[in-house]
Structure formats: C-alpha cells, structure tokens
C-alpha cells in the first residue's frame, strides 16, 4: 500500500470519528459536549435523561448509520462489478422489493386480521424486521435458483428487475385493498429510518453486517478478475458460477439485513461506489473496498445529521435526505470529470 493511500485512509478515519461524534452531539435536545464525552467514555452523568438519550438512542443510531452506509455501499459495488453496469445497486435483484412485500403483508394483512402492529410496541418492530427478512430471503432464494440456471449475468439482471416489478405490483394491490392507516404505517416504513434500531437488534445487526463485509473483502481478488469479463476471468482459473453465488449471497445478506432493520434506503448503494471511483480514480477492489466502507459510513452520518435538523423536533425521512443531498454531489462529480463513462469501461 502506498503512502498516499495510507494517508487518505487515515484522513477518512479521522473524518469518520469526528462525524460520528458530531452525529451523537447534535439532535433535537441540546446536550453539552463535555457531558456527551463523559457518557461516551463510560462515566455516569447526573442527568439520567441525557444519558438515556445518548446511550439508548443516539449511539445506536450512529452505529446503525455507519453499518448502513458501508453495507449498502459495498453491496452496490458488488452488484456494479458483477453486472458490469453503472446503474446496478444493492436492490437490483429485487431484495428490497421482497422485503417490502414481507412488510406490506405484515402491516396490511396484519391489520385486516385485527392485530395491528402499532399496538404491539417493541414486539411490533421485531415482527417488521422478521417479515422484511423473510421477504428478502424468499426473493434471494428465487434469484439464487435462477442464477444457477441462467449462465450470463445480464439475463440475471433483467430477471432481478422483473422480480422487483412483480413484487412491487403485489404490494400495490395490497395497498389498494387496505385501510388508510395501514397504508400510512407502510409508507412510514418505506421512508427508511436509522433511529429505530435498539441495542438488542444491534446484537444481530452488527455481526451480520461486519462478518459479511469481511467476507466480501475476501472476494476482492475475484472481483478484480471479473472486471476483465467472464471469458478472461475464467481463463485465469476463476470459477464464475461459484463467485457469482458468493457475491449474490453477500449482497443479499447486507442489503436484506439493512432493509429489514432500517427500511429500503435508496440511492446510497448506487452512489457511494461511483463517488469512490471518481474521487480515488481506481477500479482496483483492494483499494475501493476500504474506501467504499469509509465513504459510505461518512456520507450516511452526514445525511443523518441533516435529517435530524439540529435543534428541531422533526426528523426528515432519511430516504429523502440521501437523495436530495447525494444526487447533487454525484452530478457535480460526474460533470467535473467529463470522461465519466470511461471510468467504467474500456
């Protein structure tokens, strides 16, 4: 690793720490910085309310933001490399549509059968998570089965998009037959949220995301070979079908888990790999990987800071912030680099 690269990684790590602290410091309730620092370093402070806000709400939210940003960034990178398509993202295989279907069934059908999730409190959020996971796993299984049958990646991409459309259509039909309040509950879920993840849930969330991230990093040599196209990759001794399956499973685990806990968070997954490629001018996955993790986490923390509009009681839907804030950034990078398409193919 070159000195310049290590320098950049250190810089990004520094930014990450600062942004994480900012993220925890800012919110609808003002808490003095010394108190925040004291709480984070394990000392107890006299104001128990503040301590609760910091430890039970803001800290898990910041951790969630980091996991979501890096996880979605990596799954986007995996999909863009597998499909060799700059428009691919974590959800092209229909993972988020599957999760939406699960959630829609739980909320919309659940209300019809009279056990409204809204009345179920904490248990309700677990039910949402589980139904989203089941939906995502169902779609994943179908996609994996199809990928074993279909030889080329482009067909798989199209099939994934078709699955997505079909599941979205079913959700639309469900909405059509549902009451207004259940549709609203479903809509709120689609806005995405980083704040709803509890410590209990993080015990599941952290290990799945970090182990999958590490596992996908181990694929970086194979991903680099895939950049050359299937024929070259095979001639180098790469087992394409195997690798494709591993990539799909890793993506599904990351995107599926994140969607299950936080809702379908758009944009980040497609944008982060592009932003990273444009800034660091490389396609080498060994370099891209840590950069995508860091940039994803940083961007997500920034989006979350914007979303909670410091000093106000409202929180904007995170899904809207990522796009409104991220789109201009991507446009600016693309315009500044006039040969953008060349960063993707020769």
């Amino acid at each position: 690793m070159s000195n310049r690269l290590s320098g950049i990684i250190l810089l990004l790590l520094g930014m990450l720490v600062i942004l994480a602290i900012m993220n925890i410091s800012l919110g609808s309730v003002y808490i003095p910085f010394q108190k925040i620092f004291a709480t984070l370093t394990g000392q107890s402070i006299e104001n128990e309310g503040w301590q609760n806000i910091i430890l039970q709400f803001r800290l898990p939210k910041a951790i969630t933001a980091i996991l979501v940003g890096s996880g979605l960034g990596i799954s986007g990178l995996l999909m863009q490399t597998l499909f060799r398509n700059p428009l691919a993202g974590p959800f092209v295989l229909g993972i988020s549509s599957g999760a939406s279907l699960g959630v829609a069934l739980a909320i919309l059908a659940g209300m019809t059968f009279g056990f409204g999730l809204t009345q179920m409190g904490i248990g309700g959020s677990w039910i949402l998570t589980i139904s989203a996971s089941l939906g995502a796993i169902l779609v994943l299984l179908v996609v994996v089965l199809v990928s074993l049958k279909v030889q080329d990646s482009m067909s798989l991409l199209i099939i994934g998009l078709m699955f997505g459309s079909a599941t979205s259509a079913i959700v639309t039909v469900l909405q059509f037959f549902s009451k207004a309040e259940s549709i609203q509950a479903y809509l709120v879920w689609t806005f995405g949220s980083l704040g709803g993840v509890t410590w209990q849930e993080l015990q599941v969330f952290i290990p799945i995301v970090s182990i999958t991230l590490f596992g996908s990093f181990m694929l970086s040599k194979k991903l680099n070979a895939l950049l050359l196209g299937d024929n070259y990759a095979r001639s180098l001794g790469l087992n394409i079908n195997n690798t494709r399956l591993l990539i799909i499973i890793a993506t599904a685990l990351l995107a599926g888990t994140i969607t299950a806990f936080c809702g379908p968070i758009a944009f980040i997954g497609i944008a982060i790999p592009h932003i990273t490629r444009l800034i660091f001018n490389t396609s080498n996955h060994k370099i891209l990987f840590p950069m995508v993790v860091l940039c994803g986490a940083i961007l997500m923390l920034i989006c979350d800071i914007i979303a909670q509009i410091p000093g106000r009681e409202y929180t904007l839907p995170i899904n809207a912030v990522t796009s409104v804030f991220g789109a201009p950034l991507v446009i600016w990078l693309v315009v500044r680099r006039k040969n953008f398409s060349k960063t993707f193919a020769k």
Binding site: R84, N224, A225, G229, R234, G237, A345, K346
Partner: protein, 337 residues
C-alpha cells in the same frame, strides 16, 4: 522443431458448436490439427465461420460437441481450470469493464493463478510483470489508466497481461483489429518474436491474410461447411486453398506475389517493357484503368526508361510516339489515343 514430443495443441476429430435444446448446432466438424511448441499459427477464415468458437473450445471456455482437444499431450477434460490458467492465456476482443484500472494493475491480473487470496504480489510476480511490460515495450505506460490508451497501446497491454500469466501457450482473437498498418505490424512482429525467442506457442485468429503469409509458421484455414486445411502458407497457396477461401468474383489471389487483388475488368491490351524498378507500379496503374499486359506484340506498347533520377514512359501506338514523365501523364496519353 516438429516432433511428436513437441506438440502443444492437438485437435482430434473435434466437432464444435452449441447445444440448442435437443439438437446440436455444429459449427465446425472433424477438425484435426497440430500446433507444435514455439510455433506461431494463424487461424483464418471468413466472418462467422467459427474461429472464435474454436478458440473458446481450445481454451476450455466451451465444451466440444465431440472429439477431443489435447494440451501438451493431455486431454483438456483432465486439466483443472487452475492448471489450465497456468498453461493457456488469452487475448480477446472483449471489453474491459474498468477504465480506471492502471496498465500495471491490468498486467498484474495475469498473476491471478499464482497469488494468494488477497492477490498480493511477491517478488517473483513483480519480476514477471516487469518482464512482460518490458518485452511488450509498455513500461512507460505502467501508471496510465487503460481508458487513456490508444488502441495500439491497449493491445500491447493485453498481450503483456497474457505474458504475465506465464503460460506456455497464448491464444489471441483478432489482436490487430482496429489497428493501423504500422501498429498491426508491430503487434504481429512482437508475437512472431515471442514465439521464436521464448518458445511460447501462439495461436491467433486473424483477418490479416497477407501479413499472416509473412509471419505464420502454419495456417489453419477454415471454410464454411467444409474441412479445415492446415499447412505452411506457401503450401496452401500452391494447393489453391487460398483461392478457394476467397471465392468471390471481385477478388483475385495473386499467387506469384502472395497478395490479394481487386479484380478489374480488362478489355485493352498493351505490352510493357523497360526499367524493372517501377514496372510493378506501372502495371498496377494500367490494370486499374482496364489495361491488361500481354506478352504478345500488340499495337500499343510502353517502354520505361530511366533518365538519371527520373523515369520516362514512352507510349507508342503504330507510328505515334509520346513521352510521359509521370504515371498520370502516361494514363492521359493512353486515354487520348
């Protein structure tokens, strides 16, 4: 060089093609051919005849319909993909989906079969990469991104990548497509030198018939719905295989010079004599304008004379005689006769 122990690639009764549901789409049938170590073989044939399919089959990307491919005396079926990666490297016309890869990173990917799970390069890998860059003359490009390369530079880089793979055989699919003449020759010369200096066996599909006559040790000539013919370029010219391949009214294979000519209608005759140095060019111009050179005495005759540094074309018809100091003048005079 030829000998039974020296066989790099052998095709035995090979039939290639695709499975289409229940029936087989046969593209080329009953192929028998041998490529020896250190030889450069050009695979020629018209578009769509199945050259790429054959290369894909030999490189193990695609299964044969029947028959067998032997790589260094071993059936392709018995060779694992990792072993094959160390035996055959490819140079294809496929797009590379990463303009942001540097030349060195691309070449380093050739070390894929030898590196650990992270792809870390050891000293030995580094050495091979440097050697590949040096021999292809691409060291000066090593830090450039491949999206910034010209077509010629890119092709050399792809060859360097194949060399870094350190295989005994290199299979190339139209490595000179899209290149200008000079770059074509540079690439072909590079391949020729590689075959003779490093002992690598090279099989290359190409449309450069005339150039392949000059560099190929052997030519594998494929025809639509017919047997593949193999031999030295000269033998294939002598037995008429070249003419058979170019079975078209508009093209003529000039067996004397080993080149293709556009057939032009000739309905006028003249005799041509004199200085040999521009004889061929004069003949070329005459042919283009519909004149055929006849050995017999005809009423129009042209004599080329060298006058110190200049050439004079004397055009004579019966008693009329005119002199021209350029080919254009000569053609004008012929026109006015």
């Amino acid at each position: 060089m030829a000998g039974e122990n020296n066989i790099a690639i052998e095709l035995r009764d090979l039939t290639i093609g695709y499975h289409r549901g229940n029936y087989q789409l046969k593209i080329l049938q009953n192929l028998n051919a041998v490529l020896h170590k250190g030889e450069l073989v050009c695979l020629v044939g018209e578009n769509g005849v199945g050259k790429s399919t054959l290369l894909r089959t030999i490189s193990g990307v695609q299964q044969p319909l029947s028959g067998e491919v032997f790589i260094a005396h071993r059936s392709l079926r018995d060779i694992s993909s990792m072993e094959l990666a160390k035996t055959i490297s490819l140079v294809l016309t496929d797009r590379i989906y990463a303009g942001n890869l540097s030349v060195k990173e691309l070449v380093a990917l050739g070390r894929y079969p030898y590196t650990n799970w992270l792809g870390n390069l050891r000293k030995e890998d580094q050495k091979k990469i440097d050697w590949a860059l040096e021999i292809t003359g691409t060291q000066y490009l090593e830090d450039q991104l491949i999206s910034e390369l010209s077509d010629g530079q890119f092709q050399k880089t792809l060859i360097a990548r194949a060399l870094a793979q350190d295989s005994d055989m290199i299979i190339l699919d139209e490595p000179t497509a899209h290149l200008d003449l000079v770059n074509k020759i540079i690439i072909l010369k590079l391949l020729k030198d590689l075959a003779s200096n490093t002992g690598k066996s090279i099989l290359m599909a190409t449309h450069e018939l005339e150039l392949s006559l000059q560099i190929a040790d052997f030519i594998w000539m494929t025809y639509k719905n017919d047997k593949m013919v193999t031999g030295t370029p000269e033998d294939l010219i002598i037995n008429g295989s070249f003419n058979k391949m170019i079975n078209h009214d508009a093209i003529l294979f000039d067996e004397l010079h080993g080149r293709f000519q556009i057939k032009s209608k000739t309905d006028k005759f003249c005799s041509l004599s004199g200085d040999k140095s521009v004889f061929f060019l004069t003949q070329n111009a005459l042919n283009r304008k519909g004149w055929s050179i006849s050995e017999k005495v005809s009423d129009v005759s042209i004599n080329i004379r060298k006058n110190e540094m200049e050439f004079i074309w004397q055009v004579r018809k019966n008693d009329l005689e005119k002199e021209a100091d350029s080919i254009k003048d000569m053609l004008d005079i012929l026109n006015s006769l």
